[in-house]
Amino acid sequence: MAEVKPKPKLNKKAVEMAKQEPKVRAKNFNEVALGYSEAEALEEASRCLQCPKPQCMTGCPVEVPIPGFIKLIREKKYDEAIALIKTKNALPAVCGRVCPQEVQCQNTCVVGKVGEPISIGRLERFLADWERDNGSQIPQKVPPTGKKIAIVGAGPAGLTAAADLVKLGHDVTMFEALHVGGGVLSYGIPEFRLPKAIVQNEVAYIQKLGVDLRLGNLVGRIHTIPELMKNGYDAVFIGSGAGLPQFSGCPGENLGGIYSANEFLIRVNLMKAFQFPDYDTPIRIGKHVVVIGGGNVAMDCARSSLRLGADVCLLYRRSRAELPARHEEIENAEEEGVVCKFLGAPVEFYGDESGWVKSMKCIAMELTEPDAKGRRGVKEIPGSEFMMDVDTVIVAIGQTPNPIIQRTTEGLQSDPRHGTICVNEVGKTSLDGVYAGGDVATGAATVISAMGAGKRAAKAMHEYIMNKK
């Protein structure tokens, strides 16, 4: 193989990725970021130093061979490059778009110490998009092991575990409660950040690997975990996610027009309410929307509301410095016109005679000294209450694990306070042969951390079933 030697110059600036203009994109649901052209990808790839001890890989939860695929981009061997990524990551089109690279691979990139790090995510996305246009290759099948594995939930954790296990020759069945696969990638993350056609393409790839995907099948109700084990599955992986929405508990929260982030996003993303009445599920949004919260989900709700034609205010109880959302998402939201109101929290909601919310009382907050974990607390400033007129309120203050499996699986240990399934470092639960990972084990976290958990569990499950008896 011919070694391509880039000139030893260090370009400190990363190649920008084109985006829709803020004023334009705030009115449509099309993808905001437009991706690299081939020339841009080649230029960005040329900045990589090809470190002998790549630091970027230490920041990747699924150990993508980053310098390797970047080298193949330089050689224009795009098919080999994407195949190399897929040895470790079954969902590159997703990760290239929604991974928080700035705190992972790009955070540890050596170039980042003197300039802007290599845009690893954008390059990954370039390859995934290239593959979608040019057709994907399915790796050769290995001899079947005769072992049956059930995967519960077709979200990031489940898809990753399923891909790794089917590639090892196991017979993998994936049970998904909803009518489409993808989990949070389908119902949660909006179209303009992660187009649903791309998610479906990734799910289809997992099926092409040989995974049997059964939709509309809610494990815990239709079959329980013990029933699956009795029905001949050698091991089960639970990746049922953090679906249960949390509410503020303020009086008036059950008025019409107060949506949980999940309700709002499911209506808009999964059920395409933005195209009502051509699609059946409606959403009523009005003019003044307040989104409560400061995470990525809150940003998704705020930016979706904007696209539905509303004026949007994001109400966050801490200050800008503590916003848990990705910096890029905050920047995108503000560019598009979302107004952030910091150090404020809801107190009570008031409705009109039809039971629809019309105003809310809020209170100003102040930061307190950091706690042991370094996170600053907040307390109310007495007497600082203020009113806001609202047509819609979206409560985006977090999700807890879906409780159905925990309640219907005898002997499965879960944390009574957080509702998470208890697992060891490789994802093993208190039951033999039953593994869990992703948000159901950690509480709401990122797509890539769920994928990492799916990967670790798949490895442990493989060892478990191959060594059994």
């Binding site: 679906g243 059946d280 879906n402």
Partner: protein, 221 residues
Amino acid sequence: MSFAFHEVGKTTKALGLLNQNECIDNVTGPLGNPSEVKNFGKVLCVGGSVMIAPLLLQVKAMKAAGNNVTTILGARTEEFIMMEEEAKAISDKVYIATDDGSKGYAGLDFLRDLLKTEKFDRCVVMGPVILMKDVSEITKPYGIPTIVTLTPIMIDGMGMCGVCRVTVDGKMQFGCVDGPEFDGHKVDFDQLILRQRTMLPEERLSSVLWEIRGGCKCGGS
């Protein structure tokens, strides 16, 4: 699998156009917690219009568990009383009531009288929210444990959306994962009625548009 439904909006009208052995894109279930069925003694089962269909499954199960079962079938008018013969075949006693008195008793006053003379150990109600509210109010003074089956608006039915939140005994509960059965004496029915009506204008728009467009058989999406 068999379905009972009223054609009231777009989806049920579209469902009504299907013939036996035709397909629906996606069906999932059963969802929710199983009903508590055991020998309570004397059980009163009350069903309103289309919910008579699932009620009769419970009547059958209660009967099989050794209970004496009195069944009340209720509806707005005679037209909406369904499965009367089936009810009679499996219940110890059947009463019929309509809002307008077009069949059986008019309204629920007869139930107030019945409870003065007969003792029940448990009451199960399935039907419109207003029926469940009224029956719960009637049984409360007699201390009859009354189980209502709530069907608040849901999107996924598996704990994700939170649309089906109801206030029970002052606490927030989800119809799908905590229910569908709740203690009727503790449910905030007035709040539930308001929440059921939140999307009425959109429901009407959807239904009217569907009619105008000539009732597409594919379900529209």
